[in-house]
Symmetry: C2
Subunit: 110 residues, 2 copies
DNA sequence: TGGCTATTTGGTTATATTGCCAAATAGATG
DNA sequence: CATCTATTTGGCAATATAACCAAATAGCCA
């Protein structure tokens, strides 16, 4: 495996890893609807603000969201428009899992 | 957030998490070309067989690959055909990252 | 300035992940 | 059966994640 390919795999993995958490997926789904401030997301999710802030930081680092400070609030929105389509394949996997009864249940972390 | 949505987010996150590793992405890319036995993948990747076997087990648990034992070898292949398309959006993110110089570099794990 | 709200950062703890080695298992072949 | 190859499993150590609380920072408004 050459260096270039390795770098590319790492970059892809970083983006996927950033998405691979229930709370961050929730945030992405909500931001598909419209931008949100940290406070609104925190209220919806029901965990500590600092936790939400850190999740947002992960998404920002990966280039998935962008932040925009207005007043004393920080609004986040998706940086790339295609995230919605992106899930088509994940859904395919899940549908296959459902029909084939692959034991994916109980593996998710929260 | 209701229970059903939570379960769905967990399921999605599990699939994404399974994909979110450079070595497992490499495996997925190789299996896009054609099925491979564990030994062939191990040789390409250059880590311990047991490590490759465990990565394959993660992909299998998530419903991304299927295994097929023939003789004393085990062949793996993709279970869902759309994985290739699936990366379209990840690439979009990476392209945006490249043009915007978001510091994704150095975050990848190996 | 002082106090209030919103957000981020640092610290700590618990848990999960990853990689290696060694050992166990399974099939092929002499 | 003995042995060889291919693969999986268990155990261990190092590192990474994720959640909380507390403290720091930033902007608003009286």
């Amino acid at each position: 495996m050459d260096t270039k390919r390795k770098a590319h795999l790492n970059a892809r993995a970083t983006v996927l890893k950033a998405m691979a958490h229930p709370t961050r997926l929730f945030i992405i789904e909500e931001l598909e609807k419209e931008e949100r401030c940290v406070c609104a997301l925190t209220e919806q999710i029901g965990v500590d603000v600092s936790t939400v802030s850190k999740h947002l930081s992960v998404l920002k680092q990966a280039g998935i969201v962008i932040d925009d400070k207005r007043g004393n609030q920080v609004f986040y929105r998706l940086r790339v428009p295609c995230i919605l389509n992106f899930f088509g394949c994940v859904e395919s996997v899940l549908e296959s899992n459902a029909s084939d009864q692959v034991s994916v249940l109980g593996l998710g972390s929260q």
